[in-house]
């Protein structure tokens, strides 16, 4: 195991590290104590010591007059000790090491209290972030500002150590939040702890910003800019996570509320509709501002490091390029968003209240109740936000694949995979030609799947939206007479005939036939031709066992076991997990039993 050994060597475990640090510190303290014992210890540096002494005295006089002798000597002793220790380079390093050790211990405490055990991905993420941070700050300190004095290096290092520490914790909190958002059930107190931690990070980073302003006021703008950039980034990101988190908690809460009373979410529905754009714009503002601050920070560094061909500026340039591309991508995505939104608002009206009451289905995208909805030319209703997010990536109706005439400005689909973009540009016609009939089987029988059949000759495709909605209206007229014909079939015929009367005649004469799927559904005997068709007989039906032996088994095993577990959706996640497990076990056992029984019966008939 050379690898694991390698992993272990550079990072000794925390206990030994703490122990060694404390040992080193006590060694230093001992050294300093011994040094003070020697009365001549401060001869070399009399002036400095005298100064500090004077300061001490003035301080004592000004503050109060009740300082006892022993306290004074203790103070003296401490100041002497620290004077010795800061003078000795080894001691300085030991002190720094101790500070780092403290930071790590504090970090470990926070981890224990808030996060518990880290998941593997979180661990990996943390490690990456840490080395990344160390690398960039090394480049910054030695490559960009090119510090000359040890004190300066120390100051920058301690500043970045604190900042890096906060960033790591923030990263961890973000990861954990994202993980928690995967879960449908998290105890409330873990949310509270995480939220508290995030708020703490935000407060500390705001405080650090104040410090940076203070320092910058005395030293200069450049120092301020360098110090504050990362702090501002940290606070922006933390605030972003806090907001997202709050929204998520709000979502979860409304979900609980609607779970209790699923028929009356009318109030929250309105909020939901408005919420979409608000969330979107907050995301946009936060992402863009973080990117632009990072970008400016890097430009500042590039200009500051006057050796343009150094390694540092190369790294910075690469980072700049990346940031620029990110910003470009984000802006393009936003333009796509705006475009889709405008297109939605201009071309597809909101459904009227009659249409909404007529339509008893939920939104097909989120499966939630619709109190207000947008109507596509094909007659399908969706939530505005749901439709918006779907149309940002596709240009057809989710239910019937009716191709909407959305021709995005060609450049605006950068977030989609590149080959998708190419396809869109090269074959706009092909895309438009994909008009299909859709059969939503689950509307009739819950287990029946949906399929799609092409029903139209391709040369008749180019119709405008206006025509489409006219056809749609006509189609609905016809459909009222023949409710079992799918609307799209009628509309397709209308496209040829351009007249309601002729189409009705066509239907009556049997010229207008429902797509093959309908026949297959009504006529079980004919074997399905399309591979997506699910033959009804293919679903095994344990309720009607084919062999007598399996009925015997069902009797032997109490049927309640299935009744116990099926047909119930528990509120508690643990119970749901248990029931799911039980049901799975039961399914396997039943199948196994039936298989063995069948085998027995077949061998009996053979013999």
């Amino acid at each position: 195991m050379p690898l694991s050994r390698f992993d272990r060597v550079p990072l000794p475990n925390l206990k030994t590290y703490t122990f060694l640090s404390v040992l080193a510190l006590s060694g230093c303290v001992y050294f300093a104590k011994e040094a003070i014992k020697d009365p001549d210890w401060n001869i070399q540096d009399k002036v400095q010591h005298q100064n500090s002494r004077q300061r001490d005295e003035t301080f004592n006089i000004s503050s109060a007059n009740d300082t006892s002798d022993s306290e004074r000597s203790l103070k003296q002793w401490v100041s002497d000790m620290s004077a010795v220790m800061t003078r000795e380079p080894i001691c300085v390093w030991v002190l720094i090491n101790m500070a780092i050790c403290w930071l790590i211990l504090v970090g470990r405490c926070i981890q224990r209290m808030v996060f518990g055990d880290l998941r593997v991905s979180e661990h990996q993420h943390l490690k990456d972030k840490f080395w990344n941070f160390v690398f960039y700050k090394f480049i910054f300190v030695f490559g960009v500002i090119n510090v000359q004095y040890v004190e300066e290096v120390l100051l920058w290092c301690s500043w970045f150590a604190l900042l890096g520490f906060l960033q790591l914790i923030a990263q961890l909190a973000k990861d954990r939040f994202e993980y928690l958002s995967f879960s449908a059930s998290t105890p409330i107190w873990s949310h509270v702890k995480l939220m508290g931690l995030l708020t703490g990070i935000f407060v500390i980073s705001s405080f650090m910003l104040l410090v940076a302003i203070f320092v910058g006021y005395f030293i200069g703008f450049n120092t301020f800019a360098f110090m504050s950039a990362e702090v501002i980034l940290l606070s922006i990101r933390t605030l972003h996570v806090i907001l997202r988190y709050g929204l998520h908690l709000y979502d979860i809460r409304t979900e609980d509320a609607s779970g209790v009373n699923p028929t009356s979410p009318s109030g929250s529905e309105k909020v939901w509709e408005k919420r979409g754009p608000i969330t979107y714009y907050t995301e946009l503002v936060f992402e863009l501002s973080a990117l632009s601050i990072d970008f400016l920070h890097h430009i500042h560094m590039l200009l500051w490091s006057n050796i343009f061909l150094s390694m540092a500026s190369l790294v910075i340039c690469m980072q700049l390029r990346y940031l620029f591309q990110e910003m470009q991508r984000r802006i393009k995505k936003h333009r796509n968003y705006l475009w889709v939104r405008n297109h939605l608002e201009q071309n597809y009206p909101m459904a009227s209240s009659e249409e909404l009451s007529e339509n008893s289905d939920n939104c097909a995208i989120c499966w939630e109740n619709m109190d207000c909805a947008r109507k596509l030319p094909c007659g399908h209703l969706f939530h505005n936000t749901c439709l918006q997010s779907w149309l940002e990536q596709d240009t057809s109706c989710p239910t019937c694949r009716f191709a909407l005439s959305i021709q995005n400005p060609s450049s605006s689909r950068m977030d989609a995979p590149p080959h998708d973009l190419q396809q869109d540009n090269q074959q706009p016609i092909r895309r438009e030609l994909n008009h299909f009939f859709h059969f939503d089987g689950s509307r009739y029988v819950s287990w029946l799947p949906s399929f799609f059949v092409e029903v139209r000759p391709p040369q008749l495709m180019r119709t405008s939206d206006v025509q489409n909605s006219q056809l749609d209206a006509m189609g609905r007229q016809v459909q009222q007479l023949f409710p079992n014909l799918p609307l799209s079939t009628i509309v397709d015929d209308l496209r040829n005939t351009r007249s309601v009367e002729v189409t009705i005649e066509n239907v009556l004469d049997g010229r207008l036939v429902a797509p093959s799927i309908f026949h297959e559904r009504n006529d079980h005997a004919s074997s399905p031709s399309s591979s997506t068709v699910l033959p009804q007989s293919s679903v095994p039906s344990p309720s009607a066992p084919s062999s007598s032996s399996s009925t015997r088994w069902e009797a032997a095993n109490p049927v309640e076991t299935e009744d116990n577990v099926a047909g119930r959706f528990s509120k508690s996640p643990e119970e749901r997990e248990r029931i799911l497990h039980k049901r799975m076990e039961h399914l396997i056992q039943t199948a196994r039993k039936r298989y063995i029984d069948k085998q027995h019966s077949s061998t009996e008939t053979h013999s």
Partner: protein, 167 residues
Amino acid sequence: MAGSAVRRLLAEYKQLTLNPPEGIIAGPIDEDNFFEWEALITGPEGTCFEGGVFPAKLIFPRDYPLSPPKMQFTCEMFHPNIYSDGRVCISILHAPGDDPMGYESSAERWSPVQSVEKILLSVVSMLAEPNDESGANVDAAKMWRENRDEFNKIAERIVRRTLGIPA
């Protein structure tokens, strides 16, 4: 947002629990991660996979239902439309944009109106009738076309294995 995805998944889970299709069970095995489900699919009757109970894993994306989940059988499978590592290759699981095989029309592909239930039922019908044009497993496709008896034998062996019955 993950919040709306969880809500939709919870709704689907509820529907699948209260009103399960015959021979199909699916749900998040560990609710700490609602985006990973396990499913059991019973082999359709009258086919070579009859009687078997095949376990599979469903991994949902964060923007579900805008993007399709990924499905992978966790047992050994031998089927023209299932890769040797268990990944399922059917059109309903492909996002409208990508077309790895270059033969599918976008109408058969993923759309938010699809659901876990529809995916699993499509997989059942895929088990019943392989589409030997998509060569996820070329060997299986070839055997399915040319040597059906051998294919049935292998399927039989897999069925036994999923049920824990020694051959």
